[in-house]
Amino acid sequence: MTAPCCPPGEVIVPAGDVDLDHYLTPVGEGLAHIDLAVDGMHCAACIRTVESGLAALPGVVRARVNFTLHRVGVDVEAAVDPATLLGKLAELGYPARPYEAKTVEAATERELKQLLRALAVAGFAAMNIMLLSVSVWAGNASDITSETRDFFHWFSALIALPAAAYAGQPFFRSAFAALRARRLNMDVPISLGVSLALGVSLYETAIHAHDTYFDSAIMLLFFLLAGRVLDLVARRKTRALAGNLAALRADTAERIGDDGRTHTVPAAALAIGDRILVRPGDRVAVDGRVIAGASHVDQSLVTGETVPSAVAAGDTVYAGALNQGGTLTLEVAAAEGGSLIDEVERLLDKASQARSQRLRLADRAAALYAPMVHLTAAVAAIGWLVAGAGIHQAILVATAVLIITCPCALALAIPAVQVAAAGALFRKGIFLNAGDAIERLAEADTIVFDKTGTLTRPEPGIVNEAAIPPRLLAAAARLALSSHHPLAGALVARARGEAPFDNVVEQPGEGLRAIVDGVEARLGSPAFCGIAAAADDGPGTHLAFRHGEETALMEIRQVLRPDAAAAVAGLRRRGFDCRIISGDREAAVATAAAAVGISDFAAAQTPADKIARLEALAAEGRRVAMVGDGLNDAPALAAAHVSLSPISAVDLAQSHADAIFLGDRLMPVVEAVDVCRRGRRLMTQNLWFAAVYNTLAVPLAVFGIVTPLIAALAMSASSLTVTLNALRALAPMAAARPHNRIDAHEPVPA
């Protein structure tokens, strides 16, 4: 059958023969498993096409799509080359890349399974105990015999005790760890409340009492576990899809074997000491030292500097640098000796330590809440003792206080909003790395942009377009189709759909030439085309074109993202103080700052300078949001109150950013602020609701009016209310344009 919603996309031929054996994991009996991140699956027919397409290949034993995570797991005979799988998928119109599961993701997966098991056990126990409890409540009001009641209570105990021992583990472990560190967290009153309720209930059962709290204790665990599961589910999905995007743009390198021949391998397969070849126009995939060749490289992704720098044997080149000159031979090196990398690493350590001391909203609430709960329970018990009640009565009251104040609503109040808001952000193409990023972004009042790759597009564009005759520009663009040099990329977009010229000759490091209309046309460096360039800007910033006697000199620079000025204006309207802190030269930064309307900028900043500036802003009492993409921004991203990165950022920057946004636009930053502020409002509402609920319920508990029935009702009602309120974070999104296509190709090259 044909795909109703997905006509075969444009056929993308995989680049070269990449040796992908690195990604195969043997699964025994001559079989191997490989996970592929697949782009562009949108419907049931896509699943079918991908699975049957792969299964039809020789040597493929099984192919199973995971649509939620946009991946396909394939079992193949060990002799099969994974490249054939990618080739087949590309032919079907689904670009794919091998995916290597990260350890963090595997750990999240394990934790989620464990929590779900605990939730299932708690849910089973809660339902069955409630069945027995309701019978007892009804019987107490009518004519239950004490034997029947005792039987029901003992049976409840039989279910509740093992269930609590299993399902309560996440809380008991965390409470124990907190107590050992001499701290109080939310899990301490939870653990205390649950164990006390179970203990008291067991005693009540033994003395043939009318009421027990088995149902409350287990229901408490159920609601709290639901909160944790929600929290984890949201993080898991965004993390997995962000991982896919990283895999889809994974780098490859040409490794030089012992025999002197080159093999294309994924960057992940490179080891220290390997030698790699970097051709003109290639991006350097790993950090390394130049052992042969000379060139100039564009390190804008690394340092923010837009003017290419010259490198020769002995120099260090960083991952992300773009080779614009001649061919280089690198030796893969660990990040030692590289002064920039060393400094970045050191600054990152320091910044990450500072960040871990930051308190989340939930923890702040817990720090206030936990001692208060304990104090109230103790005061209530002592009060009843002083008033002449027995120890038994006093402990019953203290238990009731602990149960009724147990932070069900509080435990759901924040995760439920986080899940809803993360979902809303996800549909706008923004992935959260950290759950508490929502509240932190909502608090931010100052926003600091990096210039290169953040305010500007990741790829350079032509600045002086107006000065060039359109006819020449079109011919140059058509000639550029035959080159994969990054500067040519700025032109290629203009020639979509046209056929390249015949017999184009590429002279590495210089340019292209071809015979067009009987006259030689050249595209490349100004010298290659015989044009005198303005030399003041260094190499690699001009692209020249000559067709016969006609010439054009194109100035290639970073161009602003199309909506940069609008986004900055939008942030201003929302009360942000916008600034630029860049590693680039003063003149370049000043131009960009003027174009987007920011007056407060700092240029030529080292990573340490950037942190110092952020700390100075923080010392003024500001909460700074940092938006950056370069290696040199990574420490600043980690040090800022909250941080965002575009998807084109280097890995190190992405892993330290709180959120990653897709696409060519800067508007997602503004949208993220809106969603986060609404989320934060809902969190505060929920916390206030929990507080009001407690002020109403606690007096009841203290004066001994709370029966197990009231406790059960109050707990369920408050938990449901905060969850429903949290769902409002999704509501306004319904009107907005649905944007659930996660397309890795969205960042259109300029």
Binding site: C43, N66, F67, K113, R117, N128, L132, T145, T148
Partner: protein, 67 residues
């Protein structure tokens, strides 16, 4: 009321069967791809071989309309 002595445990046993079924389904990865499951149910390419029954069904519907 003696009947409760074995009816209540029986009821809980049934619940336990449900719990075990859930744990089994979790362990075998039934919840790994919830969005995919929602899509796969729409994929009817697996009943293309069973074309005759489909025709028969439409025939009866046609007949019913005539009556």
């Amino acid at each position: 009321m003696n009947v409760l002595v074995y009816l209540v445990p029986l009821a809980v046993m049934l619940g336990l069967v449900g719990l075990l079924a859930f744990l089994w389904s979790l362990q075998t990865g039934q919840y790994n791809d919830l969005d995919g499951a929602a899509m796969r149910v729409l994929d009817d390419s697996d009943i293309e071989d069973a074309a005759p029954p489909a025709r028969a069904r439409s025939a009866t519907r046609h007949k019913r309309r005539l009556i």
